[in-house]
């Protein structure tokens, strides 16, 4: 493509030329227009089609996930103590919070659906053929990354279903022979699912996997443009024969129409059926039945349906063969024939695997609805989630306030502690040292201070105050040895 810019633009004096010369100035320095032309001029053999919209649809959804994700991070705190309350805050309090979170949640499902459509289209059209091996492999990597995003994102709200689904998901890894247990511990950051697990999943979901996705999207698009659009099934994938149409305008409009459809569909779903949040994760709940999102159901059922012996076959061999067949497709399927009806074996195996996955998923739902106990428990869980969603938002009590409330509510069992608490409160030590001796701006915290002084030393502090006590205007008190002993016991009892 050649874009010859006029070399002499000094002659232009008409009023419209100012903008044009500014444009030239900018273009000469950035080359953006050339780049734009490069992007929009992509030749499509056989012309634009609605069959080709899925790739850019994925890019669009990814962008939407990226933006909504950043906005969710504005209020979210990734720690076991705060994750659930902050997601509840986003969902129940912040303006448009439920909407944006729902867009993000439903966007994840949409992404999986469109990935499946994109790869099915690529497969059925034979678009992986003709020197497109690396293009296909980069696509399979992106598929795995998208599933990784779905898996890591699921834990972040830290509600019941998030916690237990991740417990099951990480347990699956431990079934892999030899390295399994270690892999599970690595994912969890220890043996149990806790705040370290949440941190790990958060970092994977927010930093590591998105960075890899950006990288592989760039690689994927670059390789795609390098190989060229494959065109319809009647086209030769290496030396296109058919007349080409450029990406702009018709294909671009089709792609944008699809993006618009996605926005409207996701927007309606997010607005009218907002994504729910369940009650806070309770690891002690032994009744909770974990169920993964729909896109992990086939895998879930596969592991459930075949229990007992044959672990190696179930966990390693069968999935391994399917993955190898999937990733290696363009390496062993080397014929240039693209018409599906002329490739019965490839299309047959693909359809069979796809059908098997759908059957497994459907059977999982069927089983759940036909086992009375399971159905009842799942209904209860949905009910609990509905009730939690209806309940008004309850802010989390700050740690200082929690101490004060706890100090007021629980009476100490040790009489010395109780006595010390009484002295501490009646002498208004809390005014400077804070409720529960947590410390304030004007006086230090005294929790556990007993370990720094012996009983006699502690008693002596009130007779011969330390210089910093004098400097801080600490009032003088006259206490008996029993009283200082009680105060010391009380301060030691505080956490």
């Amino acid at each position: 493509m050649s874009t010859q810019l006029p070399s002499d633009n000094g002659r232009q004096t008409a009023s419209g030329t100012k903008r044009a010369s500014l444009f030239h100035w900018f273009e000469q320095r950035t080359g953006l227009n050339k780049l734009l032309h490069e992007a929009l001029d992509e030749p499509i053999p056989g012309g634009a089609r609605f069959a080709y919209i899925f790739g850019s649809g994925l890019l669009f959804i990814f962008l939407s996930q990226f933006i909504t994700g950043i906005f969710l991070a504005l209020y979210y705190v990734p720690s076991a103590d705060h994750a659930h309350v902050t997601v509840a805050y986003i969902t129940k309090v912040v303006a448009a919070g439920a909407f944006l979170r729902s867009l993000h949640v439903y966007g994840a499902s949409a992404m999986v659906i469109i990935v499946l459509l994109h790869l099915s289209q690529t497969f059925l059209f034979g678009s992986y053929k003709g020197k497109r091996e690396l293009l296909w492999v980069s696509g399979t990597v992106l598929f795995v990354l998208v599933m990784g995003m779905a898996f890591t994102g699921y834990l972040l709200p830290w509600d019941q279903k998030a916690y237990f689904a991740t417990a099951v998901g990480t347990n699956v890894a431990s079934e892999v022979p030899i390295v399994g247990t270690f892999a599970k511990q690595l994912m969890r950051g220890g043996n149990q699912i806790g705040t370290l697990t949440l941190s790990r999943f958060f970092v994977m979901h927010v930093f590591y996997i998105p960075a890899l996705i950006f990288l592989f999207v760039a690689v994927h698009i670059y390789l795609f443009r390098k190989a060229g659009a494959a065109g319809p099934i009647s086209e030769n994938p290496i030396h296109p024969q058919q007349r080409t149409e450029s990406f702009y305008p018709r294909q671009l409009v089709m792609d944008l129409a699809f993006a618009l459809l996605l926005v409207v569909a996701l927007g309606f779903a997010a607005y009218f059926i907002p994504a729910t949040l369940g009650p806070l994760a309770n690891p002690a709940d032994t009744h909770f039945l974990p169920r993964p999102e729909w896109y992990y159901r086939p895998l879930f059922e596969w592991l459930k349906i075949w229990q007992g012996r044959g672990e190696f076959l179930r966990i390693v061999v069968v999935p391994g063969v399917i993955v190898a067949l999937f990733v290696g497709l363009p390496f062993y399927d080397r014929r240039l024939e693209r018409r599906p009806w002329r490739r019965p074996l490839a299309v047959g195996i693909f359809s069979l695997v796809f059908l098997a996955l759908i059957t497994l998923g459907a059977y999982s739902y069927y089983q759940d609805s036909h086992d009375k106990d399971v159905a009842q428990q799942l209904a209860q869980q949905r009910q609990a989630e509905m009730e939690y969603m209806k309940a008004p938002f309850k802010p989390q009590m700050a740690s200082g306030s929690r101490l004060a409330a706890a100090g007021a509510a629980t009476s100490a069992t040790d009489p010395a502690v109780a006595e010390g608490k009484k002295i501490f409160e009646s002498h208004q030590c809390n005014i400077c040292h804070g409720d529960g001796a947590v410390g304030t701006a004007i006086a230090p915290k005294l929790i556990g201070i007993g370990s720094q002084f012996s009983e006699d030393q502690f008693h002596d502090l009130f007779i011969h105050p330390l210089p910093k006590m004098e400097a801080g205007h600490m009032p003088h008190f006259t206490f008996s040895a029993d009283e200082t002993k009680a105060i010391r016991a009380y301060l030691d009892s505080l956490q």
Binding site: T3, Q4, L5, P6, N9, Q12, A14, G16, T17, R19, A20, F23, H24, E27, H37, L40, D41, P43, G47, I67, F71, L74, Y75, H82, V85, T86, A88, Y89, V93, V94, A95, A96, G97, L100, R243, T244, E245, S246, Y248, P249, R250, L252, V253, L256, A259, L260, V263, P395, Q396, M397, A398, S401, A404, A405, H427, Q428, I431, C432, H473, P475
Partner: protein, 197 residues
């Protein structure tokens, strides 16, 4: 000139194999598409940015209860008091998804300050000297701070230092015959009352 305008409008998208040969049809079709794309993109951007803006601006316009009025009880109950009545008010401060509750002692006394209501006023129990809680000494009939010995009369005015001003009055209002006070913090060690935000 001709070339220039073309550059700016994405026009020279031509291939030897372009399927569309009729230039005029092509031009018309392209400007229509351009219009469609521009309108579509603008509509989509507006649609999508509205919730984002509302979401980001939420805390700026959200009502916080950091300054709240505490109900002290029926006003009539306090009109005939002879000595200061101590009460604890709870103030709840909302900090995003957190909440802090602190309990603050106040005295309801007779007095005629700027903030009194029908001869009743509410004093913060915090000593204006260094922030200790000032107890009411029944025997002396005065407020006597245990920390540094400041003494205040029953209406809170200063009798003896080291405090440099009398006890601080709190904003007061009556609502349906209930007495409501708003707890505030004041700077210590000043000879005049200055609220701390």
């Amino acid at each position: 000139m001709e070339d220039n305008s073309k550059q700016g409008n994405l026009e020279p998208l031509q291939h030897d194999s372009d399927a569309f040969d009729d230039k005029r049809v092509l031009e018309g079709r392209r400007s229509f598409f351009l219009w469609l794309i521009a309108v579509g993109a603008a509509a989509m951007t507006t649609l999508l940015s509205a919730p984002l803006v509302r979401y980001v601006f939420y805390p700026v316009f959200a009502k916080t209860t950091s300054v709240s009025w505490s109900n002290l009880g029926k006003k009539s109950k306090f009109l005939s008091i002879t000595t200061p009545v101590k009460q604890v008010v709870e103030i709840k401060q909302i900090d995003g998804w957190r909440e802090e509750i602190s309990r603050k002692p106040v005295y309801i006394t007779k007095g005629n300050s700027k903030e009194s209501l029908d001869g009743v006023q509410v004093l913060s129990a915090v000593c204006p000297h260094l922030g200790c809680e000032v107890p009411w000494n029944e025997a002396e009939g005065k407020f006597m701070c245990p920390c540094h010995g400041s003494v205040f009369s029953p209406d809170g005015s200063l009798e003896l230092g080291p405090a440099e001003r009398g006890m601080d009055t709190l904003p007061l209002k009556a609502e349906n015959d209930d007495l409501m006070a708003r707890y505030e913090y004041f700077q210590a060690l000043l000879s005049y009352k200055k609220q701390v935000e």
